[in-house]
Subunit: 198 residues, 2 copies
DNA sequence: TCCCGCATGTAATAAGTTACATGATTCT
DNA sequence: AGAATCATGTAACTTATTACATGCGGGA
């Protein structure tokens, strides 16, 4: 079931369908709403992947009954036994380390001689992290409610949420540190202009 | 100088050439060796971008003199005044927030019912972060030497390095926390099998 | 002369997003 | 019947990597 060597879309789909059968649009929404913080699929990937999975018999499709309230009737996709096997194998396989390309660092590095710009970038970035943290806090509150009735499901949400929180907190701390270093450089520059660019 | 709407390759090139003229291969090596932790370019992007930049007169090219020791003679690219303007404008523009797709979290989330796999993923991930940290520590030592003669250049390296350190440390801490949560779930599962999936 | 080694360039492939086109049902 | 609504499908484009092809100087 190596569809294309490295795309993870089909496995994300299998993973969602392993919980319950869904239509394509439902998978899309489910990802967005539940784990949109770290995984999404666009329709342009999702639907071709679904037909591919169907021809490979890793899922099977059937018109949804009963029909929804309005609109075109949905086709519901259900994971097959073979699909579960493929999913399990993928889940076992080691996580590919993702290449890191961090535009913020590139800009800071290249603009280091002009601290004003760098500080502006840092301020924007810090605000983003702060926003993320409050977003995570809202999710965490919802999780507190869920925890009462479904503790196991809550745990896995919380684990992924904590990842985001830890990273955002670390980045905020880094932002402050970086701003300090860059302004210190600027102060040194004022005291002895161009001294280090001789 | 909007080459393609969103590619940052030409600007990375301009940024490197703003320091000193280089050949394509030198740019590639410079990125790899100096800031490979957060930015790289592949030849398949680099060379087309260089010709594009040349036709737009943001850089100019000339055969390198004197020739290198062996091999095909290099063409040296030099940033133009227009190139510096374009670079400055890009450096000012806000950093695009990058989409987050974190395979590790997807796997943990989907495999949460099977903590053995999740713990294995976490262990591997932790080892990677540890490896990264020791890599960063080595770079930091080199920076300590550089700091004596070129403090300003050292500062910008250190800022980017600290980003990596902070994130890696946060992720290691998260890893331990996550392992705890997932094993706790496994223990609960042992005590009351399937209780929460009713 | 020929081939070694490096610089440069390019074709094939991958993975993904955006925006639009198409279908099929219910509501007015 | 036609409009509204939602699901599905697809074409065009973007960004990037990999692996190979080509060019060109010096040394064996």
């Amino acid at each position: 079931m190596t569809i294309r060597p490295n795309t993870r879309t089909p496995f994300a789909i299998l993973g969602v369908l392993a919980m319950r059968p869904m239509s394509g649009a439902e998978i899309c929404r489910w990802l967005d709403e539940r784990i949109g913080n770290f995984w999404r699929e666009s329709p342009g990937q999702l639907y071709p992947a679904l037909t591919e999975l169907t021809t490979r018999k890793l899922v099977r499709s059937a018109p949804r009954v009963p029909l929804g309230a309005r609109g075109r009737p949905a086709t519901e996709f259900t994971i097959t036994a073979a699909g579960r096997v493929a999913l399990r194998r993928w889940l076992e396989s080691p996580v590919a380390s993702e290449p890191r390309r961090i535009e913020l660092l590139l800009k800071l590095f290249l603009a280091a001689e002009d601290p004003r710009q760098s500080l502006a970038h840092l301020a924007r970035f810090r605000a983003e992290q702060l926003e993320l943290l409050s977003h995570y806090a809202r999710i965490d509150e919802e999780l507190a409610h869920l925890a009462v009735e479904r503790p196991a499901e809550t745990a896995k949400f919380r684990v992924t949420l904590r990842y985001g929180v830890r990273v955002a907190e670390a980045l905020m701390a880094w932002t402050d540190e970086a701003a300090g270093v860059l302004t210190a450089g600027a102060v040194a520059e004022l005291a002895a202009p161009h001294a280090e660019r001789r």
